[in-house]
Symmetry: C2
DNA sequence: TTGTAGGCGTTATCAT
DNA sequence: ATGATAACGCCTACAA
């Protein structure tokens, strides 16, 4: 049986032996350090090449302790919402010299636990969209700094207060107000909001919306759609539901941009003109909103600012030392109404 | 001046001291290992909690040597093409227990060198879309296993043969043949291909296309478009160019899906019906091709297979030991014609 | 159940 | 210019 050592990668000692020098000289050659003759350096690099030597990142990182690493957890990178966010997080992380480790965690409390634990052992802080119970979060991430994105107040309140946790939440209220006022200014009489029924309770946005509309003397319409695999279907289904009602809406605020694309599509299939017959407003401000026709009016989230806030919070948490108290801050981001063609 | 040690994170020894045990007992408590009394464990965990202790990933990884880490380099995560690819790479990596480190490298030979070097020091292999000269690639990545995605033959040939390098290329020829034959079967007489002028030379796909069309007794039309910030503009510009010619095309094969969306949009703006007046075929098979109207007919790339091939190659390269020869394989992926509404 | 000794692979420091 | 020695923080193996 072959010695395990033989099949593994060459280490610094093997290179040193082959080149007939000490390991320190190998280090000098590999890292372009001064204090080594060109001839020796050449011999060492030759030996390294021959053995396909590559310094172990473990050994190096242990002694240098410099590299900082950030974890990002999202449910689906192929979803433009998450990929635009990930792109901004990547930029912020790179700009500050942090590496970015990305993990996809599919929805469902049981899925991907092992990956999350593994991630927790490899990074210095985590930014995450997470659908885990507070107890599980504490169990999996322990004392690792964790910044939760757009999570509920209940979840935040239930987290262990002794753990380094932060949050950046999305406050839809101001943007939703702008959208509603914009539609009213356009003379719309029956404004509808699409809501996905994740549970039996209405989502927070419904409450805000109802109050907004009532304050302005109209009757709110909420289009409730079952959870679907695809937001496109959510949007199409929303139109089916809304236009089978006796009095269909003349404006639809979709659940997000992706579902708004579905709304646009189903409206076109039905021969209903946008925005003449029905305005459509999305939420998120994805770049591909410019790719559809008509171009999507939307409540744009500033992903760069969102990422920056989350990153700052993560750094803050990870540099807090033992003696200082935990910050426990909860930041917020808002939307900006971007009026394009659909509403 | 405060001792640097004081402001840093607590180590295993401090926890051990506070709990009044040896560091080994701390390890047992932290890692849920047997051979420790509940009472001692409680005391240790309490001490760890108080000091906000978290085992150093450096020390752990060094001794365990288990965690494998894959780097992925793309130009823009917010571009759906790259995010769909990244999503598949993430799945493959996770399924095999590898962590995934993502880096964005904007186009341009000078940008992001430092980030790439940093990445090279933190991972065990890299999969990359890269626009670097072969010499720079060898300089930056050294003996680190590197799998290049969709790169030119010239680049591959110029790489140092002693380095662990692999490649997965996209062979457009079979798919393009299918697309052309499909359009001919539809009775199209003037099929045009959109090409971006990255350099003064025509791209490879143009040559393939011209030959294909001529073999079938038609005259090829290539729509040349300048490089643009956004593929949407590429598509719109292509239509402007094509329909300002004396004999406009009755079918357009776009540069990719993103530019195809631009083509669709500009055609609609001009009141030209799709597919009646002009068929449109994209390349890539992005998920959002289903979001536009009409749904985009496209040459779909199997991103999952693409990612799997690249990952396998990366693993292959990184497990090759010193004695065995370098594989140097060049794999290929192809497209599948997916007929939807636009052509 | 608990503690001690050793080593993982590298870089930094100091001596030669 | 080069080499010897000592960390880095943790885990595994073995001894008590």
């Amino acid at each position: 049986m072959a010695n395990r050592k033989e099949v593994q990668r060459a280490g610094i000692l093997e290179v040193a032996r082959l080149a007939g020098v000490s390991r320190q000289t190998v280090t000098r050659a590999m890292n372009d350090m001064p204090g080594i003759s060109v001839e020796t350096k050449r011999r060492v690099l030759e030996a390294a090449e021959e053995l396909r030597y590559r310094p172990s990142r473990f050994g190096r990182e242990l002694v240098q302790q410099s590299t900082q690493s950030l974890g990002l957890i999202v449910s689906d990178l192929a979803n433009p919402y998450f990929s635009e966010l990930a792109s901004e997080v990547a930029k912020v992380a790179a700009a500050n010299g942090w590496a970015l480790v990305v993990v996809e965690k599919r929805p469902g409390p049981e899925s991907g636990r092992a990956e999350l634990r593994s991630l927790a052992g490899q990074v210095d802080a985590i930014i995450a969209y997470l659908d885990l119970a507070p107890h599980d979060i504490d169990g999996i991430f322990g004392n690792l700094p964790l910044v939760l994105l757009d999570t509920s107040e209940q979840t935040l309140d239930a987290l262990s207060p002794s753990r380094p946790r932060g949050a950046v939440s999305i406050d839809l209220a101001p943007g939703l107000t702008d959208a509603v006022d914009h539609l009213l200014a356009l003379g719309r009489k029956r404004i509808a909001l699409v809501d996905i029924m994740y549970s039996t309770d209405e989502s927070v946005r419904c409450g805000i919306f109802r109050e907004l509309i009532r304050e302005r003397g109209q009757e709110p319409t909420v289009i409730k759609v079952e959870v679907a695999e695809d937001d496109l279907h959510v949007g199409r289904r929303a139109v089916e539901v809304a236009f089978s009602a006796p009095e269909p809406p003349d404006a639809i605020i979709a659940f997000n941009d992706m579902s708004a694309f579905g709304v646009l599509k189903e409206l076109r299939v039905r021969g209903l003109s946008v925005p003449e017959t029905c305005c459509v407003i999305g939420i998120d401000g994805l770049k591909i909103g410019l790719f559809v026709d008509p171009e999507l009016t939307t409540l744009r989230l500033d992903f760069a600012a969102f990422a920056q806030l989350a990153f700052d919070e993560a750094v803050q948490l990870s540099t807090t030392n033992v003696s200082s108290p935990l910050p426990q801050s909860r930041k917020r981001v808002f939307h900006e109404l971007v009026v394009r063609q659909s509403g």
